[in-house]
Amino acid sequence: MTILGKDLIGLAGLTREQITAILDVAEPLKEISERAIKKVPTLRGMTVVNLFFEASTRTRISFEFAEKRMSADTVNVAAAASSVSKGETLVDTARNLEAMRIDMVVVRHPGSGAARFLAERIESNVINAGDGTHEHPTQGLLDLLTLRDRLGSLEGKRICIVGDVLHSRVARSNIWGLQAMGAEVAVCGPRSLLPNAIREMGVQVFDRVEAAIEWADALNVLRLQLERMQLGYIPSLREYNRVFGVTRARLERAPRDLLILHPGPMNRGVEIDSDVADGPHSVILHQVTNGVAVRMAVLYLLAGNKASLADVAKGGPA
């Protein structure tokens, strides 16, 4: 068993030692993607299912690259979450896959807690690729790796997450991951898009993005889901950009060089302006590159960590 155990469900509860172990393994794996033959045989013979109940091009492709570069056999299953309401439950879907003898499941699901739910019920390793508004741990890890690449240690560094924290699994994984690594974390956004209890999670709150920029060493700018406007959380995208948009004009007033992260896909001109996204402070493409390495590291550290049948909580009638 490696330090990670059977599954990666979230960064909540992971220790600094565990996160450091993942990042330290990811570091040398970056080189594999630079080779002419971008492949190592580590996971040969292992079958990984990318079980996506929610459309996601980026995360799925990043996982698929990671799996293929580690020589795993991959199968992509795009299941509509609505099939659940048609009768087949998440656990049925997973048990059916497992009956075909698979080794790992990478799961993306619109329900918070879905990855953990699955992990408790199947023997395969489960990697959470985003569950509802809960966690997206590999995104958190790739953000940590990117920040570590640029800032060295994260100890005492100030990172502000800007935007729709309320609905963001990226924000939660970032908060816990950064805190575990000793960073100071703040959030900034309209109060209607911040959880009421956010301060109890040990983060500072900035109502104004200008104040956040003055404080921070790095901004992690979240994607603003366009449907938030229809649901009445904010009046308009235009106003959002005017008040909370990360713009060059605002960055120019920063007292120090800021790093700009964004989990993608970006809404240019809404939460982030193009000249920031494409500008010298942006590490957005670096994040994407690191995403593959981090996911390779997680695959490697989980592979072979099998639960015994007794450890798997069996669902069913009592």
Partner: protein, 183 residues
């Protein structure tokens, strides 16, 4: 008696041995042309450095060097430790047509070298691959033989050969532990 650690090469003996190994490599390759030394992480890399140093002194030529981490090419994923360390693989020159000398500290089962050969194949097609090891302790599980050997030591299964290098360990010697020579 046989379980006590015994120094089989001290610092001076290591220096002599590496010097001789460098000579043998040059002889086998008929010079330094196309030669690339690739050390296996981590102590193989250190020994490759020292071989390159000797060659620089002898021939006045800087030999291309690389480092190979074979962790991801191992055939025993199930035995990955709790906190595995993956080192860097660095191959600064294309290997096509080169004479690659794999350098490692100890040759035992041959599985590490098998993994190294697999990994090298992912980087190109050398004209020839040779193997140079500081210590050959026998006990092969694969049909792999070294071309250049610093010292042959017979160590029983369960015994250990520890190579200490100054850069990593602050000492410079080869010690056999708990194995003793086969009677």
């Amino acid at each position: 008696m046989s379980n006590a650690p015994s120094v089989v090469l001290n610092a001076r003996a290591v220096a002599r041995t590496i010097s001789r190994m460098a000579d043998e490599i040059l002889e086998l390759n008929d010079g330094t042309d196309r030669l690339v030394l690739v050390g296996i992480q981590r102590r193989g890399v250190q020994i490759a450095e020292r071989l390159a140093e000797v060659i620089r002194e002898r021939e006045g030529v800087e030999i291309a060097r690389g480092a190979l981490d074979i962790t991801l090419y191992r055939d025993d994923l199930q035995t990955v430790g709790p906190r595995p360390v993956v080192g860097k693989t660095v191959l600064p020159v294309p290997l096509d047509g080169k004479v690659v000398v794999i350098v490692d500290d100890v040759l035992y089962t041959g599985r590490t070298i098998r993994a190294a050969l697999d990994e090298l194949a992912d980087f190109g097609r050398p004209a020839r691959i040779m193997l140079a090891v500081l210590v050959d302790r026998g006990g092969r599980e694969l049909p792999i033989q070294p071309d250049v050997v610093g010292k042959q030591v017979e160590v029983r299964k369960g015994g250990r050969v520890d190579v200490f290098v100054p850069a990593l360990d602050g000492r410079d010697e080869v010690v056999v532990l708990g194995g003793g020579a086969d009677a």
